[in-house]
Symmetry: C2
Subunit: 220 residues, 2 copies
């Protein structure tokens, strides 16, 4: 079948896949539904299959021994979580963990099938490689910001990038930026005093978006 219910249609980059390879994927891949809060993989227990997300969102983050975290990226509809697969291929363990944020439906491709398709299908191989390259670029940019850039503009950028009233605790925002909760609290309070935002429990309401934008543009 190739109808509207076909999950392959979620991945436009796989549109060029030959009939044989489509069939192979459909036969050997498993659909899974994962509830919010589930941990898909963690440093101790890496996942043994290639993961393709159809719907929902998986947050991938690093956790330091001090308890501080940083969110590396999210895997969403139509995206793949190559990173862990690569960890398997490279036979190294990443200190990263994958947490399901919203109820997620996904497809897992067993390792042998993955290997086979990478070998025989140009389209599939290209899909994997490009996904991989994009991810790594994303991670590098995120961590570069965390290492070299000041918190204030990054926080402003985050607020601007999030739609409507931001519903997140200061702790969650801190994890997003790779900093400490207190630091976020202080900056937000300063923003509030400057009339840029209004603060509530678990909510940041944006009052002066242009003002925030200006802060976000600032250098370091």
């Amino acid at each position: 079948m190739n109808g509207p219910g076909d999950w392959l249609s979620f991945f436009p980059e796989l549109a060029g896949l030959s009939g044989d390879h489509r069939t192979r994927l459909r036969e050997r891949a498993h659909r899974v539904e994962v509830p919010a809060g589930a941990i898909v993989f963690s440093p101790g227990a890496p996942c043994g299959a290639y993961l393709l997300v159809l719907e929902g969102s998986v947050r991938v983050q690093m956790i330091a021994d001090t308890g501080r975290q940083i969110v590396l990226y999210r895997v969403r509809r139509g995206e793949s979580c190559v990173l862990t697969t690569a960890a398997l291929l490279g036979e190294e363990a990443y200190a990263a963990e994958g947490v399901v944020e919203t109820p997620t439906s996904a497809v897992t491709v067993p390792r042998p099938v993955f290997d086979e398709l990478v070998a025989v299908s140009d389209v599939f191989r290209r899909f994997v490689f490009t996904g991989y390259g994009r991810r790594v670029a994303e991670i590098l940019a995120t961590m570069q910001a965390a290492v070299f850039h000041r918190v204030e503009p990054r926080l402003a950028r985050l607020l601007c990038a999030t739609p409507a009233p931001v519903t997140a605790t200061h702790q969650e925002i801190a994890a997003e930026l790779g900093t400490a909760r207190e630091v976020v609290s202080r900056h937000l309070k300063a923003f509030e005093r400057r009339g840029l935002v209004r603060l509530g429990r678990g909510v940041v309401e944006i009052v002066d978006r242009p003002g925030l934008d200006r802060l976000a543009e600032l250098p370091a």
Copy 2:
């Protein structure tokens, strides 16, 4: 020819390559010699070929707009520089630059040949993927340390890991750790006052290695 001068022997992981594929690689790859100080690739101008290093060392580093740097990894004898290739595949540009540290001889595999071999050779593909996985793991570990860990133990670790009297300017050490020169100078001076090292112009002589080791083991 398959004699001792054959560069393929530098890559034990490619030993299993079939005769056909060996020949293909030998015919289509180009040997290049690059002098120290040369910049192999930079954010603006990514390299258009797969790079295999036979001898020498290429330093890959990120540079922030503030001028601060961080060394991500080094490509040495028998290693490949997949990262930039991946950048090409992912059609994203990394903000990383590759600087030749010691005169380097390398082999470049043109993009089409690279694509072809990844497609037809299991051995070659595995070589590329494992190299890639290892690199990414390495980079993540490095940046995680820079984001979450204190400078003192990291500096101690670096000194311990470097053979004999360390010949590097404070600036170079700072780039290695992703911090500022002044920070390195201060910590080194403190080390000297505690009798752990002796400082000279461009040299750090290690006096009390066990003492440094102890510092290196410390938590954060």
